[in-house]
Symmetry: C2
Subunit: 283 residues, 2 copies
Amino acid sequence: MAQENWFTEKHAASGSSIGYRVAEKLADTQTPFQHIEVWRTTDWGNLMVIDGCTMLTTRDNFLYHEMMTHPALYTHAAPRDVAIIGGGDCGTLREVLRHPEITSVVQVDIDEQVTRLAEKFFPELCESNADPRARLLFDDGIKFMADAQPASLDVVIVDSTDPVGPAEGLFNAKFYASCFRALREGGILVQQSESPLVLLDLIQSIHKAMHEVGFAATRTLPFPQPCYPTGWWSTTLARKGGDLATFREADAAARPFATRYYNAGVHRAALAQPEFLRTALPA
Amino acid sequence: MAQENWFTEKHAASGSSIGYRVAEKLADTQTPFQHIEVWRTTDWGNLMVIDGCTMLTTRDNFLYHEMMTHPALYTHAAPRDVAIIGGGDCGTLREVLRHPEITSVVQVDIDEQVTRLAEKFFPELCESNADPRARLLFDDGIKFMADAQPASLDVVIVDSTDPVGPAEGLFNAKFYASCFRALREGGILVQQSESPLVLLDLIQSIHKAMHEVGFAATRTLPFPQPCYPTGWWSTTLARKGGDLATFREADAAARPFATRYYNAGVHRAALAQPEFLRTALPA
């Protein structure tokens, strides 16, 4: 057998690791913000790594991108204007733009190189970047939300890296207060919220901060995500008025686009709370 | 920083790996059937490895054991007699015995050393081994099911290793025919069925074989399982008469024992089929 090469992310906080057999390094660049690598794997397509942490693979990113997008958009009664904070690989942007009722999406990622590398190595995620409804900014998302017009957005999706480094300021009450102010009544904030098994403390603190700044309802939706630590991930939603327990089920069932994970049944299922989450989080 | 030691399982079939930071090797034994290691990890309690494959950790085995047990037992109208094929760590046995209506459980694992090591390093999983309703056999599960009295069991749980080596004969129509014969009308067969993302072919072949031998309904329930390849796992249920889409929801909600993952909402959620599974499997 020829010698194999593996890229392995050792996740210090959980004492566990996830790795991929790799065939070739496709890119390795130090930007003003972070160190980005792209690998060609043997079984997972391409793999993007930022500061040693796996960001996405071609094979399994559909789980994350669908779950960061469709539950919020099918919960909102009539979403039109969306902001994505982070999300430089453009996969979330693509999923948002699948909804024909959306009229504008602004994506604000601090690091243009993430998008340039995604265009090259994950072109399928970038296929909607030229959509006239989309605007790509390379700027500070915290400042963008602080400066956003009050009541100008229906959904804000925080598609960020882990709460360390550049993304640390995206996981606190000050940032959530900016989001709350920028959302219209009934608007929804979506936050990627890490592994329910390992970072339950963080998820609890996210709920607490969201309630503090005025969000009426919060809800954590777990989903599988093989490339992230523990393979189990979550998104936490917060709503400015209105609930998160019901959604436009008929619209979700009749959605005019293809998905690989999401459907109305999966949305209902993601609202179910595993017993340890149910006892740890507000109803 | 002191040098760290990691145990890593490289899963050739999926080109991905999962590892744990380990502090100490607690056991290393070659049995007539397989090579068993037990490690003490830094964050996941103890870790059992068989032939290089992670079997369980103290921290996350509750997901697997609860999902291998409670969905089937709350789907059956009145389960009394259960057989577990494999399951030598006794975690599934413990979950089955939590149901007061169960009158007998026989566990048939070919390798007594799995149970002896579990008693030592996973004592919490073995706390019901002395229950008068339980019988532990160390024998060939395929032969046991072939010789079982017709219509003598309500639930058969196949809690096996991967479909290679000693467990290979547990994933085919011949074995399922033995299970079908041994089950009473309305009885349920539960098969651990690997990663939905990576082994969809295997899951399809399991459904096909189950239908071939006479099972009326089949259903795959996905669940998170961080220690297994891709961190996403599944159990496939087959029923001899009756359906698998409904269950005793009120009983599940009022269950007289504690769980950490399973509850009535989680059971309903596990019945939802991710879009790619829905299109790949019979309804």
